[in-house]
């Protein structure tokens, strides 16, 4: 029996078509001109107990709308959604009892209270018995050394410490499922690693299902067995993370600032790349921000070092950066047929 069951789920929003300018704003007051935005458009999937699923996609793809439906905040426009065999929107309280949520940067602990008092209040809210409470707190003490944070007011914790406490709090009452929304955003590498360890450990020891939304492909690589990629309200990919890793692990984006950039630079660069790497999938060139040219490089077909050497032989570079492929690029590559 699966823990989360979603069938043909949709959520539409009615949005007013706004006109420009002051006159337009005035006319809008009396306008009945709505359009329908399909935030989530006929998606289906099911998630089993104990899975860690990465639910990812670019901004505005419909991720948080789906999460909000799974947590009982939003009522679906159509389709079926069941978490623990309950319809979340009409059973919000019963559903909340068996779920934990961490929402990025917004803490759910009591801002003015010391950490330990927040946990005591949570114990009361979820009616956790003393035995379980002691056992869980012991686990957190081992995993994240939460003990030394007990007397500290939540407002004075560092972002990383607060995130760890929030994650621990979400697991306190032994939920069936935990939703983690951008748990590592804005944190430095060592804290990120720690958070990933903790999440993996809690999933492993307590068999708690985890739905993770993130922009950080590192989180996904470290934690997920399965990912679901959503864009424009539709599911683009649902399957084992290895397949995506195989494909996108080899991509790097080379960002270059070319000296004396003018109209001819891009055509020249394109021509140069094409003579050396004729395969169309080897290197993609985008003019992204001002002054920066992005080259998305498939390292299996065009080694990064060779591409760099090639460019430097013809162009003077002011600055370069090499970054992992971004979520937006992953989605774009899937549209281009990378997973077919």
């Amino acid at each position: 029996m699966s823990l989360i069951e979603i069938q043909n789920l949709s959520k539409y929003f009615k949005v007013l078509n706004r006109r420009e300018g002051l006159r337009g704003a005035f006319l809008d007051l009396f306008s009945g001109d709505y359009r329908t935005v399909k935030a989530v458009d006929d998606i289906s999937f099911s998630i089993d107990e104990g899975e860690i699923v990465g639910y990812i996609g670019p901004n505005g793809a419909g991720k948080s709308t789906t999460i909000k439906m799974m947590t009982g905040i939003l009522q679906p426009t159509s389709g079926k959604i069941e978490v623990n065999q309950l319809e979340p929107y009409s059973n919000r309280i019963a559903n909340a009892r068996r779920m934990g949520v961490v929402f990025g940067q917004r803490t759910q602990l009591w801002w003015d209270l010391p950490v330990i008092e927040s946990f005591k209040i949570l114990k009361e809210i979820y009616e956790v018995d003393n035995e379980t409470f002691k056992q869980q707190m012991g686990l957190f003490e081992d995993l994240i050394e939460i003990k030394k944070l007990y007397p500290v007011q939540v407002r004075t914790l560092s972002l990383g410490q607060r995130m760890l406490c929030d994650i621990a709090a979400a697991f306190l009452h032994n939920p069936k499922v935990v939703f983690l929304d951008e748990p590592t955003i804005g944190l430095d590498v060592s804290v990120k690693a720690k958070i990933r360890d903790v999440i993996r450990e809690l999933n492993h020891t307590q068999n708690i299902t985890i739905i993770l939304t993130t922009h950080d492909l590192g989180d996904i690589e470290a934690l997920c067995q399965r990912i679901i990629i959503i864009d424009k309200g539709k599911i683009l990919f649902d399957g084992p993370v290895q397949r995506v890793n195989q494909l996108f692990g080899v991509y790097r984006t080379l960002k270059a600032q070319i000296f004396d950039f003018n109209q001819e630079t891009l055509p020249r660069l394109n021509a140069l790349i094409q003579t050396k790497f004729p395969d169309p999938d080897a290197v993609h060139i985008n003019q992204s921000e001002d002054f920066w040219t992005d080259l998305i490089i498939n390292q299996e077909k065009a080694p990064l070092r060779e591409v760099l050497n090639l460019i430097m032989s013809e162009f003077a570079l002011e600055d370069i950066r090499i970054v992992e492929i971004s979520m937006e690029n992953v989605v774009q590559r899937i549209y281009d047929g990378a997973l077919l």
């Binding site: 929003f13 901004n59 505005g60 991720k63 948080s64 909000k68 947590t71 009982g72 905040i73 939003l74 009522q75 919000r92 309280i93 019963a94 909340a96 009892r97 779920m99 949520v101 929402f103 990025g104 917004r106 759910q108 009591w110 003015d112 209270l113 010391p114 008092e117 005591k120 209040i121 009361e124 809210i125 979820y126 009616e127 007011q153 929304d181 951008e182």
Partner: protein, 265 residues
Amino acid sequence: MKRLRHYFRLYFLIEAQYIKSKMQYRDDFFISSIGMFFSSLTTIAVFWVLLASIPDLAGWSFNQLVFIYAFYMLAISPFQILFDHFWQLRFHVIEGTFIKYYFRPLNMLFYYLSEMFDIKGVVQLVLGIAMFIYASIKLQVSWNLPLLLLLAATLFSASLVTISIMMIAASSAFWIFNSWPVLDLARRLREFSPYPMTIFDGFFKILFTYIIPIGFVAFYPSQFFLGSQSISTAVYLSPLIGIGTFALAYWIWLKGVNSYTGTGS
């Protein structure tokens, strides 16, 4: 019943912690308490001076007006002390922080309100009690058990009326981007409630009795205790009107909560 006990325990646990943490900022606690004391005192003083210079207002004596004012102070205290978080609702709604109140297995109104407790309101309550006792003695109200029960019922109802009006105003944040004017208007209207409704002419009397029932915050319910000769039918409604307005306010709150979609993350 078990649910109710659970909520009470929880409320005391959270509030005890909250007060403890506030007390840690000792200077803030003392200064704001003293501030509240003097601000309440000056409001009373202005009212006092105003009334003392008018021998009677539409047939109401000075002590009767003090009684009505004291009733008003008692009736608004529960809102001041327990419902203080409503003033922040519009920020939570706009910034998207309101979303966290959906995640706990608790009634959302309870969870939302439990996060704030205005200790300073207690100062106002104490002043209100003192004034109420003073006016009762001066008016020689002969308190007996039925009258005390009636007082409890009318105060409860009057508190619900203030709470409901402010709750509806605060809930407008779910539909209006800048809901401050609505909240401010409700607060200003509430300030009319310690005056005898008989001083208002037709339009305002109907407005304050039937539409925004602030007449039920102090004036109508105090009639039971002032031994007035002509009691209007509105007075007999006052022990009940609170429940009706609160039902409406709670319905509007639920509508807002259920239609909230949050902000993007």
